[in-house]
Symmetry: C2
Subunit: 425 residues, 2 copies
């Protein structure tokens, strides 16, 4: 995956340091309670890594590479499945043109640019760059951010296919084809820093493997997913490992989560068994279809989809409330929409909020399993796996084995904040 | 898995036929609108297949068989994971003792008994038996029922570990250690037939594989799950298959679903893309974490867990309703419990109801994807997969590949009803 190149150390000129960091040699600090802050001056990076997504077109090509398909074969195959070859090629070209636009804009300003595919993106690239740009959609932005541990290194997302990607974590879409404008505003300080709190993960116990698997890059089947998790263990190691399974000491993983951690059985149809302790409270056994722990940023993502209510449910509930009380509770469409919207909006909280939000998804409550709070804020959540073949998925893109006996401590630290840029629309 | 033995055809004596079927040679008919009905006489089977579950103890033994572990090794290994060897052995013994009790009770009545492990249970066993008994929990009952296609062949579930298994689909727990009483009541006609409507599945298109995978028996990891799906395809077949992917004609699968069909990506962290048409309505694109289609029996199972609301959500909604209307909506614990309970109870419907209930789980609504009804009754649901590595899971236990281009037609027929027994508690 990563090519090891010699790290080139460039000395930032004094002027550049001032521009990045203000008039002292210390990074710009913002108090953890403000979502964004004005920079003390302009921002002009000197070494920018541009990390690009893999387009669906590239992916389909790679997927059938072993069969030695020609472009014409690929076209027919996609057609048979009801997909459009020309459509995929079009999106691919739009993306690559937009990447080219970004790269040219940066080079015109004399900035040193490295273009890196997401599969090649690693800690060395992060170390080299003073700024990292994600060129893709939200998925790419999540992957890019996960490897930037320092809160001093800005990460900027550019949506390279605004018609297809939502781009919630990216700059406003107008800058995709007008990137020099964005650079200009950054240079003149006409922007705000936006701080996003993130999650850190500590793993210990049995049944863990600190080697992550990148779910997007490899678009793994289940088969490959498990193979990838076990890739460092030989058969004989595994055999002896069975008898001599070591209890691993706590180790902090070298990634940070911007949206959420999801813990659960890898196989979607299998129930997940685990134990959970919130803020050092008592351990409780749980059986559910998984556990989600999100940040403020992530409160609009998967966690939102798990917890949101639809108008159908709200209408039914209000009907029951009405019939049980005899009160004149409105049941018209407008009111139902209003209540639904207010409920769903209450699920969203600020990216700079230093709290986690946990959700037990589809809890199975019976004689054995707990029925206490299924959702709430916390500073720390500890989870012990009782799963058969489970994973801890970071931002829907990186997966760690998390089987029977593994213990995860999930928390936040102000040191882990992601520095991103807020530009006016 | 299945051992092929010569099918022994026994002629049922005239008396036995009368007892099974009443005074005519036609099976007892019940109108599809009544949940249960009185038999026209006693019920005395002559050939009973007893299908037994695999206990956790047996499973752990098999799991580590390759490592050549002694019992002492297994004990230590389980202890390290926090599991109890002696506990598992105890449950195993309770189960096997209860199976022995059932078998002895049957043989005392001169009934011909075949004891079959779930992994060996197949159509040949079903053909041989005039009645099938499931000896295990609900999972075993679901597997046993799935292979009985005829509505004339009774299936009876006995819960062999009442302290650990819920046994919703099994006889009342008192009969587990008093099975002769159950046989006696059956013989004297002191019971009712309970008819459970079931789902039938038709598959066609590309990306299908009609060979199912038994999820429970094999406790598959993701790796094995996909390998099992592909087990009949060689590499060169796959390579040429890529170019010559055939469009399979519609074929009705040889199983029936008692609880639900779940369709979705096998990997729990991946979103599912598909298109759906309800009762021959327009096709709509969906993106969600999966689709569940259940029977009345299944409305208390997974579908229930997907759709139920918890008191926390209900309380929050009522608060919003109260603040928006100014009405005196109660917010005390008792009222919240009442409303929650009534809502959740409305999700449950009768096992003999001939309708399906579909639920789009965690729909992702945006510019591209539909936001119409997420839940409802239907007679027929058609689904076309746009998934990468998805499956159609029957009753949480049997899995069929269901990838990009596959089309499933999900419906019900009165011919597919399962004949089960209702004994007083």
């Amino acid at each position: 995956m990563a090519r090891r190149t010699v790290v080139r150390v460039l000395c930032l000129g004094h002027r550049a340091v001032n521009l990045l960091y203000g008039n002292s040699r210390h990074p710009l600090h913002t108090s953890v309670s403000s979502a964004s802050s004005h920079p003390n001056g302009g921002f002009k990076p000197e070494k920018v890594a541009v990390v690009t997504k893999t387009t669906r077109y590239e992916f389909e090509q790679q997927r059938y590479r072993y069969a030695g398909l020609s472009e014409e074969d690929l076209k027919q195959l996609l057609a048979m499945k009801g997909s459009s070859y020309s459509g995929l090629l079009e999106r691919h070209n739009i993306h690559t043109n937009n990447v080219e636009h970004i790269v040219q804009s940066l080079r015109k300003e004399g900035i040193d640019v490295r273009v890196v595919k997401r599969g090649e993106y690693d800690e060395e690239v992060v170390r080299w760059a003073d700024t990292v740009i994600s060129a893709g959609g939200d998925g790419t932005m999540l992957l890019v951010a996960s490897k930037v541990l320092s809160k001093d290194k800005p990460v900027v997302g550019v949506n390279t296919d605004p018609e297809r990607s939502e781009g919630h974590l990216c700059l406003p879409v107008r800058y995709t084809r007008a990137f020099p404008e964005a650079l200009d505003k950054l240079c003149r300080g006409e922007f705000r820093w936006l701080w996003r709190q993130r999650i850190r993960l500590q793993l210990e116990g049995t049944g863990i493997n600190p080697t992550p698997v990148d779910l997007h890059e490899q678009q793994l089947s289940l088969e490959q997913h498990s193979q990838a998790h076990r890739i460092t263990t030989t058969d004989s190691q595994r055999r002896s490992g069975v008898l001599h399974q070591s209890y691993s000491k706590p180790s902090l993983l070298p990634i940070r989560s911007l949206n959420e951690i999801f813990i659960g059985e890898s196989l979607s149809s299998r129930a997940s068994y685990y134990e959970m302790s919130v803020d050092d409270g008592p351990w409780e056994k749980q059986k559910s279809s998984g556990l989600s722990i999100c940040t403020g940023t992530g409160s609009k993502a998967w966690s939102y989809n798990i917890n949101k209510l639809d108008e159908q449910s709200v209408e039914e509930l209000l009907k029951i409330g009405k019939s049980q009380t005899g009160l004149e509770i409105p049941l018209n469409q407008e009111f139902i929409e209003k209540v639904t919207q207010e409920y769903n909006e209450s699920l969203v909280f600020s990216p700079d909020d230093s709290r986690l939000f946990y959700s037990i998804r589809e809890p199975i409550v019976n004689r054995v399993f707990s029925s206490s709070r299924q959702r709430g804020f916390a500073s720390k959540v500890c989870v012990r796996s009782r799963c058969w073949d489970a994973c801890m998925v970071v931002d829907g893109g990186t997966s760690f084995e998390f089987n029977d006996g593994a213990i995860a401590t999930i928390s936040m630290s102000a040191d882990d904040q992601l520095r991103t840029v807020l530009l006016e629309n």
